[in-house]
Symmetry: C2
Amino acid sequence: MQILDKIKDYERLGKPFFSFEYFPPKTETGLHNLYSRLDRMAGLEPCFIDITWGAGGSTSETTLTLSKDAQTYFGLDVMMHITCANLSETRLRSALDQARDCGIRNIMALRGDSPRSDRHAEPSFIETSIDLIKWIRKNYGQTFCIAVGGYPEGHPEAKSKDDCVAYLKKKVDAGADFVVTQLFYDVSEYDQFLKRCKKIGIHCPIIPGVMPIMSYERFLKFTEFTGIKVPEHIRQALEPIKTDDEEVRAFGVDLCVKMARELFELGAPGLHFYTLNLESSVTEVLENLDLLGDCRTRRPMPWRASTVANRKSEEVRPIFWSNRPKSYLARTLTWDDFPNGRWGDSFSPTFGSLNDYYIFRRTQDTAMRENRLKIWGQPKSASDLTEVFAKFCRGEIKWLPWCEMPIQIETGRIVSQLVSINLNGYLTINSQPQVNAAPSDAPDVGWGGAGGFVFQKAYVEFFTTKAKMLELMERAKKIPSITIHAINEKGESYSTTDDVSVNAVTWGVFPGREIIQPTVVDSKSFAIWKDEAFDLWLDEWRSLYSKNSESWNFISSVHDDYFLVNVVENDFVNGDIYRLFPCINS
Amino acid sequence: MQILDKIKDYERLGKPFFSFEYFPPKTETGLHNLYSRLDRMAGLEPCFIDITWGAGGSTSETTLTLSKDAQTYFGLDVMMHITCANLSETRLRSALDQARDCGIRNIMALRGDSPRSDRHAEPSFIETSIDLIKWIRKNYGQTFCIAVGGYPEGHPEAKSKDDCVAYLKKKVDAGADFVVTQLFYDVSEYDQFLKRCKKIGIHCPIIPGVMPIMSYERFLKFTEFTGIKVPEHIRQALEPIKTDDEEVRAFGVDLCVKMARELFELGAPGLHFYTLNLESSVTEVLENLDLLGDCRTRRPMPWRASTVANRKSEEVRPIFWSNRPKSYLARTLTWDDFPNGRWGDSFSPTFGSLNDYYIFRRTQDTAMRENRLKIWGQPKSASDLTEVFAKFCRGEIKWLPWCEMPIQIETGRIVSQLVSINLNGYLTINSQPQVNAAPSDAPDVGWGGAGGFVFQKAYVEFFTTKAKMLELMERAKKIPSITIHAINEKGESYSTTDDVSVNAVTWGVFPGREIIQPTVVDSKSFAIWKDEAFDLWLDEWRSLYSKNSESWNFISSVHDDYFLVNVVENDFVNGDIYRLFPCINS
């Protein structure tokens, strides 16, 4: 979606918006951390995020990848920066084509500074941001919403503030849609800037750029380097606390909140955060400004919807990928339309294979490998394994190969049962508690907004031995409301039923709506998911150990011999899925 | 579906089937009554029904109409009789073409007797049933399953029983698929007939035709006329009770049950009932034989599914036509496919108008007009009207122009509220009680088979004055879970919401299935339904009175001034739709 349209929507609602700016990290660990951060911060529902351009350098590729992934996988509207300095026509065109093709509709057009020395540097094809904007409009029409930078304190190269605003006017006249300002700490500068803009005839939104002070050292360095004015009251307030990092951070949050209120008073439509790829101060500012609403608890769907245009109608997903949503998005990227209302048969055969996008690439980064070794240990027996899985259920481990995210809040309802079955050899990788007509705004299991009711059939999915699986199949004969599907790596499968119908396991009933059934269990998708699930034993886990070591061999045998089992308790009113397990109900 | 395939299905299940034979009535009242009976008896789920051919006469047109309507509107598999006596090639071909085109796949091929005198009589194009079968096979291939008559006691024109069976063998060899026998009361005749057939090489199903004795006089006349043998023990049993109609009827039922058990012992795959267009004895026989199962309480969907091939996938209907299902079927006849899973937008604009099929034609029959006048009276004021509607809710009146069937069992849950609002000027024509997770085999509100749960949002639809409608709109502001749509004959409309989404008001959750939502409320269909609903005031009701009489004028004013209002209580857990009405909750 074009940001200008979103800004207008916020205006209509009388609600200030906010946006987050990130830069492309230079290391793989940095990139990995940023992906996790993006994923979490997407939950705060920013109006948009933007990724700065690694001017002329290798990180410009990272900018492209990050922008595309954020747009495709994180449900975010992305504004990609592009700077024309030292960029050839070919690379400019290629960057914009790629952005367009993956659904990005917003570009921040900047001149940029020539990199001091970079082997990627090319002769500039375009020299000024004005020409860049004109060229984009000429070559891409209205495909992109174009933002430009504004300088409340004047651009270092401008003769005067008036000159600087006059130049901004030319950028707007060339086709820019809105302005994001450079950082400032003196609110009166923004006030005067707005007035100058108005006087000269700039009427588009002018979003103030802000950055909560996070560390005294960095703040000092940064403001000195950029020449940004630091009001005397800020210097004085910082002086006595400058050695206490926590106090500086707290002051930075308070100052930013105070500034934000003044900016809104002056008519700022929202706040643009220079996040420096960090999240806690920004989140705190937004919390104190009361701008987060219930976004961290409210969910339109049980899974986060994508912003990609052709996914807008997507209403159903199989449960198997709930803990690997990005993998699901990647494997269904080529779909032309998405299940809307019901799952249906036609989709399942067309799952793509996982491609080599960054987010699915096994890390070679030493720090990350070591971190994994630390949390997953060196399992040499079934009981070593059960301990790892139980820890994950207790929240003591933050991820598993099958679970990109820590265990979800709603699992609180069933955590003791999960720990118990894990310790007894059912290695759970997915589950949901039973829910019968909970309010749709319930903080743990709610989704879809207030006023409705949500339901869930209890679900649990795990790896276990063939013997244990067969024992469950036998026990299930006495519990007709429970259905089980089990399959091993070779595709040998067992089921309590021949019926291959699709089973809706999460649904919601809302006023004036048809029933929404966003999560299903179906045997065809399960057969596809099992390949991915078994591969993860090897790719993510076994790869930590040296070949033919004890742990390497043990994980291999689990991969070869265990079954992946999914269990649904269809009686969401009176059922109890855990009575299936002999360790709980013997 | 071809009956032979259905018979095989029953065989596999080890379950005897039954079928009903009707004849085309000669009067309009008779026809009207037969339609109601067909509708009710369809609920007993016969394997098929058949309609006899009004040989060469005017009633052959009725045979065609009845057959087509039963196939299209009543969810029945129909076998149409055809007799070649005095039928031209043109008329034979036209009858079979029409049958084929409306989905009929079964023909009973008979020679028939030449009518004694009939202005429709034509020279026969085909002389024998053997030639008729050959001609049908030659001209229609395997389009039709073909049945023929068998004569356990020998055909009157046959020289011997052996000759008669030899002739039957020729009919089977010519292409007949199964045999329905002529009536008999001596079971040993059927036994011998089966043996003769087997000996000569007839291996297709041979269904015994039976008829419970319903009146002594008629039984005597009928058996004398046809020459059917009446075993001595039956004569003796009837003699002492012959003047007591009720005793004769009870004896007839018992005898038929006894005969049926003997026939099943001999290997009869099912029973073919010569119903004489009557229902009670036949129903009683089936009940005593325990062949009805739960068919009168079990419902695959809340509405009766049609047997028409392209409607097989139909899973959703708007609620408005629930009491006029045949009208709904007629208006959607031209649809190529049917909403499957969800209602969706695309269907509503294409509702056809009601055509002039018999079942929608206003009756000119005097007896029926008088019956209506008797039950609907001569309303001259609002209070006269409220009394009629309240009587319908109490079950004292069996139909209204908008309700083809008496009030449904499930309404028992809300009958006192309905009566109360009707007496207060809200003239209800449709409603359903609130249901929250009732077992899907609950006798009143269940559907879809056992093992699931069904839900309903409370619904009520009524005519009322503009003032009362506006008062409800005002009261609804305080009950956000209630949505109201109101519209008058001219299309002036009011709504509590601008949202035109489709509202699922009945849904079911079943093991291993997606959610099924068979009934919806949507504003587009409502706008189409309202034309039909307002027309019924004039066509069905006002037409009973002479022009400009007091009742004629009053009904006209109701048609012109009242609003049709639909109300949904979206909170199916804690809501109470009747709190909307000031007369109930003031």
